[in-house]
Amino acid sequence: MGLAEVIVLGSIIGGIWALVASGFSLVFGVARILNFAHGTYFALGAYVAVVLNSALKNFMSDCFSLILSIILSIFIVGFIGVAVYKVCIRPVKMYGVMIILVTLAIALLFEEILLTTFRDTPISVPFPLSGVVSIAGVPVPYTRLVALVVAILVIALLDRFINATRTGKEILATSQDSEAAMLVGIDVERIYVIVTFVSAALAALAGILYSQIYAVNPQTAIRVLIYAFAIVILGGLGSVRGSIIAAFIIGFMQVAVSIALEARWSEIAAMLAIIAILIVRPRGLMGVE
């Protein structure tokens, strides 16, 4: 108990937060979009997967329909992210503050839609395996173990994608200087679309993994933002690697607070952490201008 529990359980939730925050940070770093609807993609991922799964399992085996609906959900939410970008964000892109307001309104709009369609009963994406393994004396259910493995794999893939592919290098170039990137012949608009897709898809995956462990309800969209903000402020706006490190720090902190006090205190603790960090370093740990 104690330290081992904080490290094991903290890395699991930290892995999920890393998926959420890296996408949030990527979009800000590349396109300077502060997307308050990011938590919505998280919640939508779980909802779309659940709806698809309940429809698809009439036609195929349970396990196959689950995997198919999870993959489909990630793509659908990715495309929703692109649609939101094209319809709502691009027209106001030169007014920084308006991006915040329009994405906040989109987040509340989707919350209303989810509330009227599904009520506020929490939902969970089903998980086919049941069982527990023991890691360093801490019992870990398979759901959480799979979540951690998937999260680490996807983050590693994201890191390779950004740092080792041609598109990734174009993304990096755009994030450093979008005008210079345009001058050397990079289609900046295409990069923005790719980045919004990746970001929304990562959030959807995180939402699916999260809902397999805990549960998601319409209000989750906004609550997730608190953690996403805490992480990007800690890691620095726009720094993807900083966000990944910060996600695990926040994950450890969250578990430690839940053990020491109660789970409902962890959001307040995250907020106090943000304020403490900003007093010391107003630009976060590894922030960009």
Binding site: G96, I100, I113, I222, I226, F229, V232, R264, M271, P282
Partner: protein, 323 residues
């Protein structure tokens, strides 16, 4: 476009109509109008910071909520103390308490620029909602609690309406004096060019903080007034939908124009609580008034990001120059 209506006469005419209204209007309309007056103070006080210093404070509802809960707790025995102070004094206490929070939040947040300020202020209300939920024994959880009929501004609805109207007029006048004073000019200098303002010797941080405190004080007062007008307090006074409605009102009216916040705030409150409710009920699909409000907000931001009034002004001036 040379038909100029003197603003003074227009304002006097509107006030005259509002004063005469209780003699003809229904009680439900009066009740809603009173709340709309208080909402106007929310909007104008937000515009003081957003429109006059250019700082986007997305946590304005923190001040409203703090003002509201301060007076509500002072008027009930939920804190374990029985205080028999007059209601107007506890409302003032709500404003002062919001001001002190404004000072602390301002000192921390105003060092941050642009995006970081918006991020941090946006989560502040969520934290207060969480605290209200954790200590639900004191704060009444998500639902809040009632302060009791005896703590009403006035038991007669007409009188309550007049108190709300008077409160709005006095608050607007006070904030107008600030905006037109030397402080207001310096605030606008800070908004237009921070470095230039600093170069000509304006203490930028000090003036931002002054604007923040004025804004917090009036928001706190208005939050406290709301409690004694509708007799309940709840986390809705902290919540994001209220924040968005305030922002929407100011954007519709035109940010940083002062009268824009008054007109826009009033219009959006009436639209949300009256027209949208009627439309939502008449539609076949189950949508709420909030849903329509968010749709309108998104459409407005996409079509006219710099404020409808400014858009109309630009349109008119382009017409007149062509002639």
């Amino acid at each position: 476009m040379h038909v100029r209506i003197d603003a003074k006469y227009l304002a006097a005419a509107i006030i005259a109509v509002l004063v005469a209204l209780p003699f003809t209007a229904s009680t439900s309309l009066l009740y809603m109008l009173g709340l709309a007056f208080i909402f106007v103070v929310y909007a104008v006080s937000w515009d003081i910071v957003a429109g006059y210093t250019g700082q986007v404070n997305l946590g304005h509802t923190v001040f409203i909520g703090i003002g509201a809960y301060t007076t509500a707790l002072l008027n009930t025995s939920r804190l374990g103390i029985e205080l028999s102070a007059p209601v107007w004094l506890t409302i003032l206490a709500g404003g002062v308490n919001a001001l002190s929070f404004g000072l602390v939040i301002g000192i921390i947040c105003l060092r941050l620029r642009g995006y970081y300020l918006a991020l941090v202020t946006a989560i502040l209300p969520l934290i207060f909602i969480q605290i209200a939920n954790v200590y639900s024994g004191v704060f009444g959880g998500y639902e809040g609690f009632s302060v009791g009929l005896g703590k009403s501004l006035a038991t007669d609805l007409k009188l309550r309406y007049y108190i709300a109207l008077l409160f709005m007029l006095i608050s607007i006048a006070a904030m107008y004096i600030v905006v037109k004073s030397k402080i207001g000019i310096k605030l606008r200098a800070v908004r237009d060019d921070e470095e230039l303002a600093e170069a000509v010797g304006i203490d930028v941080v000090k003036y931002k903080l002054i604007a923040f405190c004025i804004s917090a004080f009036f928001a706190g007062l208005a939050g406290a007034m709301t409690v004694h007008y509708r007799l309940t307090v709840g986390v809705d006074l902290f919540d994001i939908p209220l924040m968005l409605a305030i922002v929407l009102g100011v954007i519709i009216g035109g940010i940083g124009t002062f009268y824009g916040a008054i007109v826009g705030g009033f219009a959006i409150y009436i639209a949300k609580n009256w027209f949208f409710r009627i439309i939502a009920e008449s539609l076949a699909v189950p949508v709420s008034d909030d849903f329509l409000l968010y749709l309108l907000l998104i459409a407005l931001i996409i079509k006219a990001p710099e404020g409808i009034v400014n858009r109309v002004k630009a349109f008119l001036s382009s017409k007149t120059t062509k002639q």
